[in-house]
Symmetry: C2
Subunit: 348 residues, 2 copies
DNA sequence: CCTCCTATTGGGAACGTTACCACAATGATT
DNA sequence: AATCATTGTGGTAACGTTCCCAATAGGAGG
């Protein structure tokens, strides 16, 4: 088939009987155009079905209206939510979102970054994979960037938006304390990672600030999966005293879910025999039994705020903005109330 | 700060002491270039940190390397998974993905579509919102498109990729039959929507093909949310006979989850008193109690396949491809096995 | 020595848009 | 009546790339 060429502004101008300068003026809503010309051009646009070629505009203006976002995995509900927030916010600044999943691979991350630069995005959001030495060097990219999440602290010169983990941990531990729980046992992420260090540090700090020695806190490592949570819980159960009420604080919801499942398999009931506090706020926690009490990270607001900050960075604001959005405790049903001093047979 | 301009191929050429034509030849790996020139140009590229400007390439070549995808909501786990599949597949054809959420709004859909056309995407994937009269007219867009999901049938001239709902319904009903269940009660989506019609039709067809009259099947409408599922289940429970084992087949997992929760609130146990079959395969169903038996739509393969088909369409293949990917039954724990105590007598 | 062929290189146009400048026509001001 | 500002319009360059064509050099063959 003939696959007829898309009409350009020149076609519009010819159809309207004016020069392309004049047509461009009409299209950009510029002043100083006679009413009859405006009408003629708009008519021509309608007849031809003219659609502005943003590629040409981008090249000419040096602004592509494209924003990149690189997350570990877009199919992960948390990151999907972040992307959603970013998308909503970028629509407001008339930009489109280009997404990439790095799959926690440094190599992919690098390749995505190159693609972004070559596409001439106006800026990008990224959850950087590299944790320390591997940390990627953004500086020479010469492109506005805002970091997402915890690893942002490794790049002091870059703006970032993440959740306030210390605040979330604080809220969770406050809640556990109110409900009469002592030192919780932690199920964390893999060792030697910044995310884990931040979580553990926040817990320790909380107790130190209250003159409580946190060194006795038991920790088992997971890998942020349900299976990892089950295994960690299995280890806790193996060394637990008979009849002891276990209080678990998991570093993410999937591991918390695993802990609950593992307890059930061991014949223990949550929240009667075991209390579990999660960290994330994924939807799955809403429907499990018992529904998971957790600390929700503000995923969507993180995405929105990141775009706002990026917009500021793109408008060559020189200062570095580091935003930490507060987490929110979501009380559901996986933590028992032990605060009643009298031992009683509660309605389970 | 000076914000120095990004180097162009002209800068590279100057640095290497050759013309831009020659530099371009080297960069495109073209033949007929002397070895020393190749080396000089590559050196210059390294020194200057030259990155090809894809905007210019796109304009010149008429191919942007951009693919759009419009889904109802990227934060919905199902669609996130589809997007992930599309992303992986588009990487293989060296394209980047531009995402948009339509939020089931026709107006937004239209605006996104315009943005896509103006960005000069090479093609796009879309889960069209319009169900009938509202159906969007893609034809005049003059841009390769592949439709995602059930509404694709409304556009006979367009290629599409979706799940084989009839196949999934078939698998689910086969399973229920094997486990000794009779006619299930249906919790469907809102009336007067194509998706609902497809679901109900598939159920009816299944029974008619087996000489079973499906007209007695009870249906309650939901809205694809947990709350909607709970309300629908509440209505079923209100009219259920005492001691009757209820067999529920929900048109999506969230409503199935709602049904389970509602049953529990009514003091009924799933799967002892109530059996629930879902449809979707979302992760939340994996961790609820009981874990949800469901039919998983092949979300990621749909995304991948859609890009493959789009690639074919973009290479001006004239034929229309309509792909239906098979669903997969995921047996977990929400359907009771009634086949042992009761001998099923075939009616008809 | 002249011609032809090949290998290598440079020049220029084109993709579609916008911004700037120049120009003409009109009306207002001196 | 001459000058000036205002309004409307058209021409052209530039963004960065690739592709086509022309041009040059050197060597081979007559």
């Amino acid at each position: 088939m003939a696959a007829k060429r898309r009409p350009t502004i020149i076609d519009v101008a010819r159809q309207a009987g004016v020069s392309k300068s004049t047509a461009a003026r009409v299209l950009s809503g510029g002043a100083n155009v006679s009413p009859k010309v405006i009408e003629a051009v708009k008519l021509a646009v309608g007849e031809l079905g003219y659609q502005r070629n943003n590629l040409a505009v981008s090249m000419r203006s040096g602004r592509s209206g494209l924003i990149g976002i690189v997350v570990p995995d877009i199919s992960n509900p948390f990151w999907a939510e972040v992307v959603r927030g970013a998308q909503d916010a970028s629509m407001k600044i008339k930009s489109s979102l280009l997404i990439f999943s790095s799959d926690w691979s440094l190599e992919r991350e690098r390749s995505h970054l190159q693609a972004l630069v070559q596409t001439r995005v106006d800026g990008f959001l990224i959850n950087a994979i590299g944790d320390d030495a591997e940390a990627l060097d953004f500086a020479n990219l010469g492109c506005p960037a805002v970091l997402l999440g915890t690893t942002a602290d490794l790049y002091p010169g870059r703006s970032s938006v993440g959740s306030d983990i210390a605040h979330g941990v604080h809220a969770a531990l406050d809640y556990l304390g109110q409900r009469g729980h002592g030192l919780p046992k932690l199920i964390t992420g893999p060792q030697r990672r910044l995310a884990r260090a931040k979580f553990v540090t926040a817990v320790n700090r909380y107790f130190i600030d209250r003159d409580i020695d946190p060194t006795e806190i038991e920790i088992e490592d997971g890998d942020y999966t349900v299976e990892g949570g089950k295994r960690a819980m299995g280890r806790f159960l193996a060394k637990a005293r008979k009849g002891e009420h276990l209080t678990i604080f998991a570093a993410n919801d999937l591991m918390a879910l695993g802990a609950i499942l593992q307890a059930r398999e061991a014949g223990l009931d949550c929240p009667k025999d075991v209390s579990v506090m999660g960290f994330d706020g994924i939807v799955a926690g809403e429907f499990c039994v018992p529904p998971l009490t957790t600390v929700a990270k503000p995923a969507r607001p993180i995405g929105e705020e990141a775009i706002t900050v990026l917009d500021a960075v793109m408008s060559d604001t020189p200062d570095v903005l580091k935003r930490r959005l507060p987490c929110q405790l979501i009380e559901r049903g996986s933590v028992k109330d032990l605060s009643k001093p009298i031992k009683l047979a509660k309605t389970g």
